[in-house]
């Protein structure tokens, strides 16, 4: 049953992405000032929104663990965070490549790229913490608390870096361009977002099942060693 859900999600996601690619390359006209490169937005922005959505849902899953003490919720939280981290990596890489064309440099301390990098660092720390703890309940507990802190902090980090870059101006990634995206241009963005969400859901389901297997292995090992 589960396998069928995973397969359906993946195939649907793949189909939407493929159809969208066709639209992006052939139907959407080039943007006036940026040229062809702006099409990266169709991967950059959906990946960004997917990853942020993931981090916040994972936080609620962690809170759910703290309330119910059900380790499955911890597995779900860890899986969601891992998949969101992968999408955050996509966001940074595509943003950096976009910047290479627009500003001529691979990296700049633009508000969004910097905030994303901080987010990446915080969640690398999350996974480092998980690896360093052997006891599953302690690991679940501390990961949940860390993800609460992380999610509250990300908002503050975003706002403060944005304000910092307003005072010390750097290059600005004009994503919405003042709300002036032509009508034909915006739709593929949301379709890609849907596709990414489905892909993320499929990956999360697979990862959660793997975490369940890991717990089963630990339990069997404890059982085997107990006698």
């Amino acid at each position: 049953m589960r396998l069928k859900i995973i397969l359906t999600l993946s195939v649907l996601a793949g189909a939407i992405l493929a159809w969208n690619l066709h639209r992006i390359f052939l139907q959407v006209p080039d943007e006036a000032s940026q040229g062809a490169i702006f099409r990266i937005i169709y991967f950059h922005v959906p990946a960004a929104i997917t990853s942020f959505t993931g981090f916040y849902i994972a936080m609620f899953s962690g809170v759910g663990y703290l309330i119910s003490k059900d380790l499955r919720l911890d597995s779900i939280a860890a899986s969601i965070n891992e998949v969101s981290l992968a999408f955050a990596l996509i966001t940074i890489c595509t943003g950096s490549i976009w910047g290479r064309i627009i500003w001529g440099i691979w990296w700049t301390w633009d508000a969004r790229l910097t905030s994303y990098f901080v987010c990446l660092l915080i969640y690398f720390g999350y996974f480092m913490l998980r690896r360093a703890i052997d006891d599953p309940t302690a690991r679940a507990r501390l990961s949940a608390v860390l993800s609460i802190f992380a999610c509250v902090d990300i908002v503050l980090v975003w706002k403060s870096i944005e304000w910092f870059r307003t005072q010390h101006p750097g290059p600005v990634l004009e994503i919405r361009g003042g709300g002036g995206m032509a009508p034909g241009m915006e739709a593929p963005l949301w379709w890609n977002f849907l596709a990414f969400l489905m892909l993320a859901a499929a990956l999360i389901l697979i990862r959660t099942r793997q975490e369940g297997m890991r717990r089963e292995i630990d339990a069997l090992r404890r059982y085997a060693n107990a006698f």
Partner: protein
């Protein structure tokens, strides 16, 4: 439209797809490793049961 513009657009899309593919491969490898370990531990438990009988 400068050719460099197009090239980098393809680099961008390639980077995104590459990250997804690498991640999916790493998940698949982890799955294989976990299954092997699960089978091994299950066999170990069965052997213990047999030995006790």
């Amino acid at each position: 439209m400068s050719p460099q513009n197009f090239t980098f657009m393809f680099y961008g899309f390639t980077a995104a797809w590459l990250i997804i593919i690498v991640y999916v491969i790493s998940i698949a490898l982890r799955e294989k490793k976990l299954r092997q370990e699960l089978d091994r531990v299950k066999r170990m438990v069965e052997e213990n049961e047999q030995a006790k009988k």
